[in-house]
Each structure stands twice: as C-alpha cells, then as structure tokens.
Symmetry: C2
Subunit: 415 residues, 2 copies
C-alpha cells in the first residue's frame, strides 16, 4: 500500500458520534426504535447532514431519500469510492446495526481532513433509506432502487401498516430529494457492519472479511378460508385461515430444525389475519417466512421442503394457500479485488481477520450488482442483534474502521 500506513481514526470522536446517535429514537430498554422516515429518523438524518456539512462535504439527497456526502478527489471527474450503511433501525434495536458503518464513513473523512490527506478519486459517504424494512417492507429497498432492483415509483408507493406512504413520509420529513436514484457509476462500495452473529467475538477476531451471504429465500403466503361462527360451525366445515397460517408456521420452523446441524435457519417473523377477532373464524391470513443457508443448493432444498409442506397444511386446515410474493438475496459474492484490499489493509495494520459469510441482508448485496463491493464485519456481543440488548464495544469496532480506512485509501488512490 502506497499511502501513509500510520494514519488512524480518532476513536473517541468516532464513538462520540455513535453514542450521540444512540440518544435519538430511544427504545424501551436502552436501545433504539428509530423506524425509517419517522420524526426520530429525521432528527438523526439532520444531525448526520450537519456533521457532513461541517466536515466540508457536499450533501445531496436522491428521490428515495438516500443521503450522499461527497469529498472531492484530486481527479474529481472519475467515479467515487463510496462508504455507507443505514441509520434506520428495527422496532426493537440496538445502537450499532447500520449506524457504526455510516458513522465510520464520516469518521474516515474527518480523519483524512485532519491529516490533510487527499485522494485521487472522490469519496462519498452514503446513508441508505429504510434498510431494515421494519416500517416499509421489503428491506433494503432504497439501495435496491439505486441498483435497479426496484422501480423508484414502486418504492415511493409503498405503505406502512398504518397506510402511510413512503413518498409522503419522505416529503414530510424533508428528505424527498431531487437527485436521480442510481444511474451513475461507482468505483467501489465498502460497507462496515456488526456481524449480528457470534463468530468473531468467539474467535477474538476483530475483522470479518465477508466473502458472500447466506442464500435467503423468502415469501409471503396468502391463506384464504371463510368466516364462520366460532361456536356452532363443526370442525369439518371450518376453513379458518389462521389455522392454515399456524400449521405452515410450525412446518417452516420444523424445516429450520431439520437443517440446524449445518446452520440452516427458517423463520416466521409475521402473521396477519382478518378479521382476527373473538367469535369468528378468519377468512384471510398472510404469513411471511424465509429460509437461509450458506450453501445456495441447500437453501433451495429447504425452500422445496417449505413449499412441499404447503399443500398438506392447506388440506388439513381446509384453506387455499398461494404465494403472494417471493424474494431472493445473499447468493451474491463480493468483489475479489476489494476483498483483497481489506485483507491487505488488515495485514498491514497487524489486525487479525478471517473470511466469513453474512447471514443477514445488507445494502451491500444490492450495490454489489452495480459496483465492486466489499463488506466488513466487526464483532457484536453474544451475536445478539435486532434486540435492544445488542452491544458493540468501541475497542472491538475501531480496528475494523481503521482497516476500512486503509482499504478505501488503497482503492481511491490506485492508478
């Protein structure tokens, strides 16, 4: 690496920004509840924009609310190297998921300013909108729009469970930007994220070089039955959609256990039913589920098991079942050149690292479809995430940010 290898981020300054973010949108148990496009999200975005502006960046917002903070390059007309993640959270979340990645990008720009370091290529820090999908399903919808996976108008038309629109809420909080979504080349994209799993902590390795993801296959399943009186209707005339959904939920969970030995997972995070009231059988229910496995072929087999269970559940519950939507991600493999820069930076700094697979969804997946991409993991305590007890330690996180700094410098300065 040709650049100054003594450069390090300011750990205290970095962690101060993480802790300051941790005050915005408090949860009920010490964590965060900062759903996309809420007042808390606006407050965090405003603070982030202020920080970026104070760091001398030019801030632009695109039509789906993605925020880009740009630091010019010596050669400012070539595609930028981009660092980013997300600032929105789940309903019950920690202070680190996504946040440590966006603020690592900010800290890197500040560090370069302090050292009066210029880069050949411009740098950008990005905050992607609604990564979690907690308020507007599906997740990673704005990075997906950037990567042409989703249509911008379709994204703006999404509604939350209260019927509020993505576009309307974006405008309400003042982040309906004018910039086109995507459609411009990125030299590379780097994301740093907590692992959300126990491996790095267990092995005392501070940096995970994410070579790819667990293959994820997900779907919404619609169940259609018939309303009837909860009292007189004989069991053999019932078509309770909620029973169909429950049977399929148990079947999905069983598939997870079947593949548990090879770390397969199957999840039912959500069931809705209608009318879902005392005294009446449900005529409609929808179940959301997914399966995940490191080996895409095994994920496909798990998926086939879930689909094979559907007719039997439908028959036993005497309801109709139909797939209402499917999605796939995690089979992407990240860019070997960018990953090599991460490993080289870690080696140069004397920081232990290992290759790892991601089990969660990340904006990096979609961006990897349009730009060379690398994803770096840092440890999180007990692998706990999407829980207010999520915890990342400053000393476990900073090594990853320094590795990110030097990988980005190497990429941005390459000939």
């Amino acid at each position: 690496m040709a650049h100054d290898l003594t450069l390090r981020i300011d750990s205290a300054r970095y962690w101060h920004t993480v802790m300051r973010s941790g005050e915005i949108g408090p949860g009920k148990a010490g964590g965060l509840r900062r759903l996309a496009l809420t007042d808390a999200d606006k407050e965090m975005r405003d603070l982030f924009v202020t920080w970026c502006t104070e760091a001398g960046c030019t801030v632009t917002i695109d039509r789906v609310g993605n925020i880009f903070a740009r630091r010019p390059g010596v050669d400012d007309h070539v595609p930028p190297v981009v660092i980013g993640s997300h600032l929105d959270t789940q309903f019950a979340a920690g202070k680190y998921d996504g946040i440590v990645g966006v603020l690592a990008g900010l800290e890197i720009l500040r560090t370069l300013d302090d050292g009066r370091v210029r880069t050949r290529r411009p740098l950008e820090v990005v905050c992607w909108t609604n990564e979690e999908g907690a308020r507007f399903t599906p997740p990673m919808v704005a990075s997906g729009a950037f990567a042409n996976v989703f249509d911008v108008d379709w994204v703006l038309a999404l509604r939350d469970d209260d019927g509020k629109g993505f576009g309307a809420e974006l405008a309400r909080i003042g982040y309906a930007g004018k910039e086109a979504v995507g459609g411009r080349p990125l030299d590379a994209y780097f994301e740093l994220h907590i692992e959300q799993g126990p491996i790095l902590e267990r092995e005392h390795v501070p940096v995970g070089v994410v070579v790819g993801g667990y293959a994820v296959r997900g779907m919404h399943v619609d169940m259609r039955g018939e309303t009837a009186h909860a009292g007189p209707t004989p069991m053999d005339r019932r078509r309770n959609a909620l029973i169909g959904a429950s049977m399929l939920a148990v079947a999905v969970n069983d598939v997870g256990w079947k593949y548990h030995a090879t770390e397969g997972k199957a999840t039912v995070p959500r069931i809705v039913a209608w009318p879902n009231k005392a005294g009446i059988l449900a005529e409609y229910a929808q179940l959301t589920c997914d399966v995940r496995h490191a080996d895409p072929a095994v994920a496909d087999a798990m998926w086939a098991d879930v689909q094979a269970a559907m007719p039997e559940c439908a028959r036993r519950a005497n309801v109709d079942m139909a797939i209402a939507g499917e999605w796939k991600f995690g089979s992407e493999r990240f860019d070997p050149g960018c990953l090599r820069l991460v490993r080289e930076a870690a080696d140069a700094l004397g920081i232990r690292h290992r290759d790892i697979l991601s089990q969660a969804g990340h904006d990096a997946y979609y961006i990897s479809r349009v730009a060379p991409t690398a994803l770096i993991f840092t440890p999180c305590r007990d692998g706990i995430s999407h829980n207010e007890a999520e915890h990342a330690d400053v000393d476990d996180t900073v090594p990853g940010v320094n590795v990110l700094l030097h990988a980005v410098l190497a990429r941005a300065n390459r000939p």
Copy 2:
C-alpha cells in the same frame, strides 16, 4: 292459554324492518359490517328508537348504551316482561344474527297495538350493546353488566384495537345514557335468535326451544419470547413468540378434532404478535382460543387437553406461556317455566318445535342469572353465520315470532 290465540304478527311489516336494518352498515358481499358504537350502529339505533317512539313506547338508555322501549302494563308497577337481543354485528356478518330478535320484539308491540291488546304486566323491548365482542372484547358485555357479571366502569374503560374507548365511543354516538345498569327486577326475559347451526333447517322444524348452551371455556394466552435477528440467530437460540402461538393454535385445533365425533369444537379466532415485522423474531404474542361441548364435563376435559398442550408448546418454541384471561359461559340452563310457555305456545299454534342446545354465546345467558329466561331459535340456511352469506327466510322465521308473541302474552298476563 287465556288470551286470544288468533293473534298473529304482520309478517310483511316485520320483514320490512329486518330488510331496512339490512341496508345500514353494508359489508362487502351483501351482508353487514355494523360494529358496536360505530356510525352505522348509531344510524341503526336512531332508526330503532324512532320506530319504538312511533309505536308509543317510552325509550330509556342505560349507562352502557342498552336501549329499553317500554309499553305500559295494566298493572304498571310490577316488573316487566322483556324481549330482546342485539343490533350490532360481526366484521363479516349477515342481516339476521341478533337483529331478527330485537325487531321481533318491536313487531310484537306493534301487533298488540293493532289489536288493542293490553297486558297485565308492562312489556319492554331491549337492544343490548356490543353483543358480538367484535370491536370490544369480551362479547355480551352490556347484558353482562346488566346481570352484574361485569362492572360498569370496567366496561366503559374497554378499548378497541385502535385504542378508542367504549365510553368515549358511546358518548360520541349519543348513547351514553343516564339510567343505572340493571339493579331492577325483570319478570322474565325472552330472546329469539337464528340458530347459527344446521339442525332446525335439516329437520324442517321452525322453532328450537333452547334448554341451555354448549359449555364454553375460553382464554387469552400470552407468549413471551425475545426479539432477535431473523438471519443469524441459530435455531436453538430462538425464542420466537409467534412460533409458540402457532404451535398452540395447532394444538387447540387438534383438540377440536379429537372431540369432533361428539360435536366438540375448539377455535383459535385471533393471534396478535409484536413486532410482527419482517426480519425480526417476535418477543410477544397473544392467542385467543376456546373449546365448546354440550357436556360441561367433556368441555372441561377439552380444556384440560389444551392446558396440557401449553407446556410442550412452550418448551418446543422456547417461550414462556401464561394465561392472561379466562371466561366461561353456556353452562346455564334456562327457566323451565318460561320454556314450558314457549312449547305450549308452539303447540297451541300447531308449530313444530324441538328442544335444542345453543352452541354460541347469547345475551340470554347472562340475563338468565338475574331473571327467568327463555331462548327461542329459528332456522338459518346451512347453519352459516358470522359470514355475509348468512340467510334466514321470512317464512322460516315468522312462526318463531308468533310463538314468542304468545309465550310473552301468557307470561305477561299470568295471575
């Protein structure tokens, strides 16, 4: 029977009121969606009050919104004979459940006026509030308050799923009356209701003399797990409350099938979960369930089966389960004297009748705890109810109303 046995209701006039009610609060498939204390409920109540006032009745409203329309007796200081049911409906309901009973009472008063028939005791027609429990759980809450089963302030503090209060909504629609709830003697209570089961139609018997109910045992069960990421969290570290709820739902349904041969039923009409969002395991879920059987001892055995399934489901899903509320009804037996009057009236009119058990909840259960009570069933097509396809035929219903007329006359005029 000492009174004029040639008296008959005006079938066309009666059915006109049923059809007029059937226009208020339309559903999406030809039936009704007239939830308690909604604008539609107010419109129906206003019309009912107008009809009663035009029939010369004095209308009073009690603090939980029960409407009483009174026709004086010759001896007006003795307790009244009361006829009633409810005008609210389920989310997906027909035009007959409850409604044919209230309007039968109105038609009987009109018939007596036409014939210039006076009764020794006063008569009252009552519309009980929120019988269905579709908007404010539990069901039969206002007749229950009348019978001292529920505290009035507790009823007024109930909230719907949108957080709106029973008392506030009652005031909003103008039916927060000033009369005390209950606390006065009734000479007798008669209710006419569609069967909500297939027996009368199948046997071509127009009148069911309800001797009692199926024993109902119901509960809400709280499940407590832990939020976690739907991706990395290993199966053996998951505490997904939604999986616990689904397992218990399947177990409850299995209990229903176990007792199907003796017409036992077990129902899960409702599951709620939190956060219930993509990407995160649920930390909380609540399941509502009940079992029903003609034999209270068997209902108790079914109940024991459900409770026995709970620890196993809790263990398999790795969640905590606790009963959050229980209820029982249906073991009441109606008044032999009032039932005898119903059978005698049917015999006198040459109308076939049979004894029958009720499988659904009715206001008559709670009122039977404070007054001699009879419940009369009329046929409904295919036994379908709590469905917009619910249907009752005028020719199948009018015989029951005439039987009700003469049973009420006999009771009101007895020495």
